[in-house]
């Protein structure tokens, strides 16, 4: 579930409020959006990959909320890691260009 909107990184663009498929966030006038309905989070990672400044972290735990530490996430490279892998963000080549599914399925053994 969504666990972090970094107040130091967030630029208050509210894109996460707009794109969240389950409407988890509320806009705050003149401030950082809030995680208003965490229990509705479906752990789809969409807010995180749309965030232009890697301010958000979706923990893999879909059923329970877990504590996260921003500094540890930065140190381990996990903050923004998925967005990097799909090649979104300035100066990156989009990941679908390197989609190797056609090579993987060739060897699929089911």
């Amino acid at each position: 579930m969504i666990e972090l909107i970094s107040p130091t990184r967030c630029i208050e663009c509210n894109l996460c409020v707009k794109v969240c498929p389950t409407n988890v966030f509320d806009e705050v006038r003149g401030g950082v959006p809030v995680i208003a309905r965490q229990e509705d989070c479906q752990t789809c990672y969409q807010c995180e990959i749309h965030c232009p400044v890697d301010a958000m972290y979706v923990a893999p735990e879909a059923e329970v909320s877990v504590a996260v530490d921003e500094n540890e996430l930065i140190a381990s490279g996990l903050l923004g890691s998925y967005r990097k892998e799909i090649g979104w963000g300035k100066g990156r080549e989009r990941g679908s260009k390197f989609d190797t599914t056609y090579l993987v399925t060739r060897q699929f053994r089911g």
């Binding site: 498929p21 509705d40 479906q42 996990l78 390197f98 599914t101 056609y102 993987v104």
Partner: protein, 567 residues
Amino acid sequence: MLWTSFRFGALRKVVAAMGDGIALVGNPQLDEALELTADVLVIGGGPAGAWAAWSAASRGARVVLVDKGYLGSSGAAASGGMTIWHSEPDADSRERAKENRRKVDGLLSDLGWMDRVLEQTYQNVQRIEQFGYPFPADAEGNVQRRSLQGPEYLRTMRRVVKDAKVTVLDQSPALELLLDYDGTVAGARGVQRQENRFWTVRAGAVVIATGGCAFLSKSLGCNVLTGDGALMAAEAGSSLSGMEFSNHYAPSLPFASVTKGLMLGWATYSREDGTVIAGRGRGPGGNALGAALLEGPVYAVLDKADPEFQKLMRTAQPNFFVPFDRSGIDPFTQRFPLKLRLEGTVRGTGGIRIAGPNCETSVPGLYAAGDAASREVIAGGVSGGGALNAAWSMSSGFWSGAGAADYAASLGARAHTRSVLGVGRAGLRPVPYGATAGGAGEIVARVQEEVFPYDRNMFRTGPKLAGSLDRLHALWPQALAQQPSSLRELVRAREAAAMVAHARWMYASALERTESRGMHVRLDYPHLDPGQQHRLISSGLDHIWVRPETLSLGRRVREIKRELVAA
């Protein structure tokens, strides 16, 4: 009384305040409703809805697309990655693509529809490339158009739809269809949940592309898929088909949401004590994992992939590895536990019954596309997800959008001057049946108790199906009696009602099919019965009925001959 006579008048406000009697309309806490007209209204912003909107707009229609969440991030496709059921246009490739499917699909598909979908998919995949989606190229420089990565695909489709001048309303779940007095669909009503108001779109035709129903199982990206569109269609008089093919489960880490099976092709499975479980098959009978889970915990490790291949796996499906990387599990060397999440009709094949080549439903003015529609015509009783559904969504979306645009054009100006009535019931127009109305949350929990267990839904038996069905029927009056007191509760109430309805259509159909075919496995009828090579149509809400729909005789004879030749 003509709509135009009070279109801008005070009388209309009075009527709107009465709101055809729906909950919360006229509530002073809400902002004034948004009212729009369109030639075509598309409900749902996954691939099918995006294609429908683009296709209708390309034919000159004025299009409004509404999505519960956001066109670009909503639904099963946006958060995943998928292969495409795709073949080169030569006759041999096409035959092979069909034959491979016919071996597993339970012989309920239709060769003519399969041909159409393969051709339309071939064309649309080329369009996707023209839209700017970056497909990979192989070592020889040949572009490989066999798979799509969800976030990039849907981001591309959002841009294309917006460029086609479609009016997009995000965060705007639909609640009910509007019908004119002839019973023709003439628009829909819903809420803009971030604007604190209702919306009404009066339209010449409506395409339902709201996806399947995954019962809030937290399967990746699927919690927006609560079957809302099928509920609305049923209220308008549409029937469903193939609802017994609704029990697809997908593997995930027990705590995580990512439900992707492809990489498990390189897994060794074991029990708690480390003894190895024989490989999990796919398709019919591919429930070895479920059977093992009924006996105890199951673990996997992707130890059949060498380090070179591991790299290919990561670039193929980056999302598969996210929960592993974030919880510190190396899936190639460490055993990890698995569970199965129900994906219902998302990776099932049942849905709103298709009644014509443009994905018309049996209700005039109403079209269905993508996972909201039955995919039996191409997938029979097994889809497995991705490949077939990806091809179906871009094909059915394309056809339904075009069909809806032409239908709307045939109505001309009349389309927006019709008197209309909302036909939504459960949660919208509460019926005091005397039932204790639990909240939507309680209703959902009780549906999940009936549809999640592997020994009820994956492995089915007559007595258990009948027991579940009795309890689910008893839940329906509670769904009708819900009295939501906010827009959020209203949306929840409709979702809960849609899930009760789905569970009842599913189990009523599953009880009727006294054989095992496709993904529908009956322990008490373990074999395929050639006498039941028909589809099952289900319909109704207060009373549910199921009847067989015979495949046309000529087609059956042709098919039987083909099967004989193939054997």
